[in-house]
């Protein structure tokens, strides 16, 4: 019975969420069709829909999408490798944790996006500066969660494994890793999200190509309808990528 009412509760909240989105779309439609909002500021959703279909059908988005995704993949790969490795090394010593955890947490709270002009100066307007920024920003949640995951494993598990004769390799594989895994995974998901955000953001600020660049370019050309089509496209991609990573996280955590 309780499972059933829980199920019903879940459907109810889904319905409210869907209703909210539909309501927003309806407002958008009404506003642009009947209430005289300027088409330059907010184009009609139906026209945006047509533009979106054209963008998708023409394959116009492909070069920019490829650049953005390559930047994202490169940045995430670097920050994962560096963050997990460094986090593990730091977590092995209470002294290193005491020194580096507050330091890294402190830097994490700085708005790193402010370094973008510097990165552009160093690495140019191309993908390299986006990769550098994405890497820097996603490195911190990953390294901090890795420290938290490996550094705060309940001591009783370690003592128990040691009493049963676990070797260092076995301790890592059967105790430290499974104990730390869910926490590290959360770090990876957050890292992925902020990498995507910062790469798209930096493309809109200073770049030569990429989805963010394309959106700004269209805005400057006053092609608002197509710009909105691109925004919708990017939002859809972000939703897919983020729900993919959340789904992976949930699946790995379930036991």
């Amino acid at each position: 019975m309780s499972a059933r009412s829980e199920q019903r509760g879940r459907w109810a909240s889904r319905a409210v969420q869907l209703g909210f989105v539909v309501g927003l779309l309806a407002l958008w439609y009404l506003g642009t069709t009947y209430w005289g909002i300027s088409h330059l500021l907010l184009p009609n959703p139906v026209k945006v829909w047509h533009e979106l279909r054209d963008v998708l059908a023409s394959g116009d988005y492909l070069p920019d999408l490829r650049i953005t995704l390559t930047e994202l993949a490169t940045a995430f790969a670097i920050s994962c490798t560096a963050g997990v490795t460094l986090g593990y090394v730091i977590s092995r010593s209470q002294y290193l944790i005491r020194v580096f955890e507050p330091l890294l947490a402190g830097i994490y709270s700085v708005p790193i996006i402010l370094f973008l002009p510097l990165y552009v100066l160093f690495f140019g307007l191309g993908p390299a500066s986006k990769i550098a920024l994405g890497t820097t920003i996603s490195f911190f949640p990953i390294v901090l969660n890795t420290i938290a995951g490996f550094g705060y494993v309940d001591k009783i598990f370690i003592v128990a494994a040691r009493s049963m004769g676990a070797s260092d390799v076995q301790m890592f594989r059967h105790v430290l890793l499974p104990a730390a895994f869910p926490v590290i995974l959360t770090g990876l998901r957050i890292g992925f999200t902020v990498a995507l955000l910062s790469i798209l953001g930096s493309e809109t600020i200073a770049s030569l190509a990429g989805l963010g660049h394309r959106i700004v370019h269209l805005a400057e050309a006053m092609e608002t309808e197509r710009m909105f089509a691109y925004i919708a496209f990017v939002v859809a991609i972000a939703v897919v990528l983020n729900s993919l990573t959340s789904g992976l996280e949930r699946r790995a955590k379930r036991q």
Binding site: F157, V159, A160, S163, G165, P178, A179
Partner: protein, 274 residues
């Protein structure tokens, strides 16, 4: 009973302190303690909290190297864990929450180096012995506290060590679960030849389970007196209602009471719990 030469664990002049002398955190947990555990007996360590009984258990198990003194298991000096000879059952939940009950039991044997083919049948046997055969696919979070401790016991039994060290294994359980587990343990252990050292706070548990009870003094702890409980295993649940039980329990109470008073007056002193 075993002859005087048949000693499973020999503790000689063991003292242990936590922290450096002169430090605010410096605590002398154990003071010049000597003890012989006979092969096949169940020895209970009882005493006020902070008296060093768990410290002694960890020293015997090689999890803690004492400041001074030696421990021998058989004729081997203990300098670290001896997984082939000694298995632990801890008070807290030391089962790995990411493994099922079966995986937990098997993992202990993986660590100990049991050949793969033997792991499954031995795990099954141990789980059947503690009455958990139907729950081997469950995760620890899905079990009650009592069942979790049964699983922890099964993990220790599957290691087939001669010595079992139990650190307040039923400490976190309610009185009734504790009683049933104690009775089952008595039956289970009467069928094995294991040497067991069992740390407890409970007078009743000590009298019911033990062949001998070692009473600790307040910190810095050492063994004050050892009492024999001359009653064959497995013990009848009615044993607790006998006059003999009451007398032994009262005697322990008398020995402990004074030490508990002392320990309480020290409890303003900060330090690690035993």
């Amino acid at each position: 009973m075993s002859s005087a030469t048949d000693v499973a664990v020999r503790v000689e002049g063991v003292s242990h302190s936590f922290g450096e002398p002169g430090d605010a955190q410096h605590v002398r947990a154990l003071l010049d303690t000597s003890l012989k555990v006979k092969r096949g007996e169940l020895l209970c360590l009882i005493g006020p909290s902070g008296c060093g009984k768990s410290t002694l258990l960890n020293v015997i198990g090689g999890l803690l190297i004492p400041t001074t003194g030696t421990v021998e298991v058989g004729h081997t000096p203990v300098r670290g864990p001896l997984p082939r000879h000694i298995a632990f059952v801890f008070q807290e939940n030391a089962l790995f929450p990411w493994c099922t009950v079966m995986e937990n039991v098997k993992l202990g044997m993986v660590f100990q180096g049991v050949p793969r083919a033997e792991q499954e049948p031995r795990a099954r046997k141990a789980l059947e012995a503690v009455g958990l055969a139907e729950f081997m696919g469950h995760y620890p979070a899905q079990l009650s506290g009592g069942m979790r401790q049964r699983a922890a016991l099964a993990r220790a039994l599957s290691l087939e060590t001669g010595i079992l060290l139990m650190d307040e294994p039923f400490g976190a359980l309610d009185e009734q679960t504790r009683m049933i587990l104690g009775e089952d343990l008595s039956v289970l252990l009467s069928r094995t030849e294991k040497t067991i050292v069992f740390v407890t706070h409970s007078l009743g548990e000590a009298v019911f389970l033990a062949d001998r009870v070692a009473v600790f003094s307040a910190r810095p702890g050492t063994i004050k007196e050892i009492i024999d409980i001359d009653e064959p295993h497995p013990r009848n649940p009615d044993f607790v209602t006998t006059e003999k039980f009451a007398k032994l329990r009262n005697r322990l109470y008398g020995l402990l009471h004074e030490e508990i008073r002392k320990a309480v007056s020290q409890s303003a002193v900060v330090g690690p719990q035993s």
